[in-house]
């Protein structure tokens, strides 16, 4: 259901990697929507296609990955809706969207900035590219942005190199760069995974604050359901390149409809056990070989509710089980899965 508030609508997106060993269907029919000013959390085990999906939006999927179907409709500031899939990835048009209307921050603050250019150089470049301002003006915008991300001594940091500042400060610099053109949509691919817990909490806090200030939408990938609960209103759960469940955080946590979501929720470690960067592993079995996709429901090989018949034969469709809550399971309405409270331990904020 798209309405005037929708800024991004992905429909049945397929992104494949052709490799000598075969085709990896990294994104295999993902559909989701993002509304103005909303934060959408995206969760799922490693390899389920989160990063590839996000890169597909900006059309920066690295070779040999390629989008083979579906649409990604993005509504621009001026109201025009463009299908990113139809644009040439090197076209002027898509470049005017990248970094300006849709910005992206990555997981690795260590390597995401060029080691041989100053922080300021890299931020100023983005500003000059998209706004018609002089270098001097861009520099003061950069310093102002660094101040907004609570960077200490922004006037000095602007002339420093990435190796001269800490990981947390680099991620702040990345955020400052991403926000420098006031994007409508910020794509954050595990922006805090590489950081220590305290720094992570500060960065999340910062992102939440800036979101309301800039009124932008955020797509936030994380492995940490605590972060999802704390940061987002809406969650999308992915499995093997597909959305298996999507809904509001409250709904999804208290009344999950897909056995995979259920498994994820119950794999949250208890307070005190939490190890940094811990991945979600407590669902029985492991993710199937991407070259040998299971028939029927891709999750049936690991699902305790597998009926051995329909689940193996027929691929379920993503359908709405309640207003604003959809799931991709034949038995979504009848399983009566147990939810959790919104995870109390969240993060050590």
């Amino acid at each position: 259901m798209s309405d005037s508030n929708t800024i991004l609508k992905i429909d049945d997106l397929h992104t494949h990697y052709d490799t000598p060993q075969g085709t990896v269907r990294a994104v295999a029919g993902t559909s989701l929507e993002v509304h103005r000013g909303e934060t959408v959390g995206i969760v799922g085990e490693s390899g389920c296609g989160k990063s590839v999906m996000l890169r597909s939006i900006l059309r920066i999927v690295p070779h040999p990955g390629r989008i083979i179907g579906g649409s990604i409709e993005f509504t621009r500031r001026d109201g025009e809706t463009v299908d990113m899939v139809k644009l040439d990835p090197n076209s002027r048009k898509i470049r005017s969207i990248r970094g300006d209307e849709i910005a992206m921050i990555f997981q690795e603050p260590m390597s995401s900035l060029s080691p041989v250019h100053t922080i300021g150089d890299q931020i100023i470049e983005a500003i000059v590219l998209h706004k018609s301002v002089s270098n001097t003006e861009a520099r003061s915008i950069a310093i102002e942005m660094l101040g907004k991300v609570a960077m200490p001594r922004p006037e000095q940091i602007v002339d420093q190199y990435p190796h001269e500042i800490s990981g947390g400060m680099r991620q702040r610099a990345m955020i400052a760069m991403a926000l420098s053109c006031e994007p409508r949509l910020l794509i954050a691919d595990e922006p805090t995974t590489a950081l220590d817990v305290t720094t992570q909490a500060q960065i999340l806090d910062l992102m939440r604050r800036l979101q309301s200030e800039f009124n932008m939408a955020i797509m936030f990938v994380t492995h940490d359901l605590g972060v999802v609960a704390q940061m987002t209103e809406h969650v999308v759960v992915m499995y093997m390149g597909q959305v298996v469940e999507a809904g509001s955080v409250k709904e999804l946590f208290t009344a999950p409809r897909h056995p995979y979501t259920h498994g994820l929720l119950h794999s949250i470690p208890r307070l005190g056990q939490r190890k940094l960067g811990r991945r979600l592993v407590s669902i029985k079995g492991s993710v199937p070989d991407p070259f040998a996709r299971p028939s029927g429901c891709p999750f049936h090989t690991r699902c305790q509710y597998n009926d051995g018949d329909r689940c193996v034969r027929e691929e379920p469709a993503l359908r709405e089980v309640m207003p604003g809550h959809s799931a991709r399971c034949h038995y979504a309405e009848t399983l009566g899965l147990q939810g959790v409270d919104k995870p109390a331990e969240a993060i050590n904020a």
Binding site: I60, R98, M104, S112, V116
Partner: protein, 325 residues
């Protein structure tokens, strides 16, 4: 910066000093001395008396022990006197001032040629990895590396004289050999030099293409490239600004030792091509144990090498802010 330069200068002086000793000793290592090899080259049948031999030895100062000889040579050298060449019966300075400018006139353009050709090709090959052109460049590059320069020189001489009726080898074509300087003569010299540059520069070019390609391939998959792409930069612009900038500095910094390598690595080619550079001169001097000449050439080359390395290091420091002095 300044303390670093000072420290390096002292290191450089020590290095050059040590090299000069080693060079002097190594040249004397083969049995006999210049007088022996000189006598050996005299046409058979000539009778040389013991007295004459002793006179020659005394004249060249070969009777002193090695340390004394070295000391004499180095003190003279420091006063700008490199001694005489036994073989040519001229001062070493004289010989070098004749040969060195030409050597530089060939090697400096060769260095430019190497980088000007290999860097763009290396960039292209990395960015378009496994494209048909990348394969072509790789193949040509491997051939360039595998074929020894002198063989390449012989092939060039053959091809040029056979198909173009031109003349390769020597600095001038026969008609200009003795002519006074004119525009035609300069052009002729440049033409002959460009063939030399091509031959001498090929293996360096091939090697530098591999290095540039490899370095850039490593950088292209770095996260900061993706950041730049997500920023909205156009593909070529971001490639030139980020990964190329990172990959090129170690490549460019080799420019310092390319020069001496080119100068000393071309004896055989220069001999085949009959170019009056320092290469053949050094080769001869070593063969005939013309020790002051050989030691002086090695001395000059080692100075060039040491300075080249120093320049390389400075370039690297300048190009990569992560390197601390």
């Amino acid at each position: 910066m300044l303390p670093y330069v000072a420290k390096r200068s002292v290191q450089m002086l020590v290095t050059v000093f040590v090299i000069s000793i080693i060079a002097f000793i190594v040249i004397q290592l083969p049995p006999g001395d210049f007088v022996n090899s000189y006598l050996a080259t005299l046409s058979g049948g000539q009778i040389v008396t013991q007295d004459a031999v002793a006179a020659l030895r005394a004249q060249f100062g070969l009777d002193d022990n090695l340390a004394v000889q070295y000391f004499k040579w180095i003190t003279n050298l420091l006063q700008g006197n490199m001694g005489i060449s036994f073989q040519y019966q001229r001062t070493v300075i004289d010989l070098l001032s004749e040969r060195l400018p030409l050597t530089l006139a060939i090697t400096i353009p060769t260095a430019f040629f190497v980088y000007a050709v290999s860097i763009p090709i290396g960039i292209y090959s990395a960015v378009r990895q496994y494209s048909p052109l990348d394969y072509v460049f790789s193949l040509v590059g491997f051939i360039g590396l595998a074929v020894p320069n002198f063989l390449f020189a012989i092939i060039m001489i053959y091809v040029t004289s056979r198909y173009f009726g031109g003349n390769v080898g020597g600095l001038f074509s026969p008609q200009y050999e003795l002519a006074p300087w004119s525009i035609g003569k300069v052009l002729d010299m440049m033409q002959n030099m460009s063939i030399a540059i091509l031959i001498i520069g090929t293996s360096g070019t091939a090697a530098t293409i591999r290095v540039m390609r490899g370095m850039l391939l490593d950088e292209l998959s770095q996260a900061y490239v993706e950041t730049a792409r997500a920023k909205g930069l156009s593909e070529w612009r971001l490639i030139m600004k980020y990964p190329v900038r990172v990959a090129i500095s170690p490549v460019l910094s080799t420019i310092g030792f390319t020069l001496p390598a080119l100068i000393s690595g071309t004896e055989i080619t220069a001999t085949v091509l009959n170019l009056p550079t320092t290469g053949p001169l050094l080769l001869n001097a070593v063969r005939s144990q013309d020790m002051f000449l050989a030691a002086s050439i090695i001395f000059v080359l080692s100075i060039l090498t040491v300075i080249g390395t120093f320049i390389s290091d400075l370039l690297l420091v300048w190009a990569d802010p992560r390197i601390k002095l």
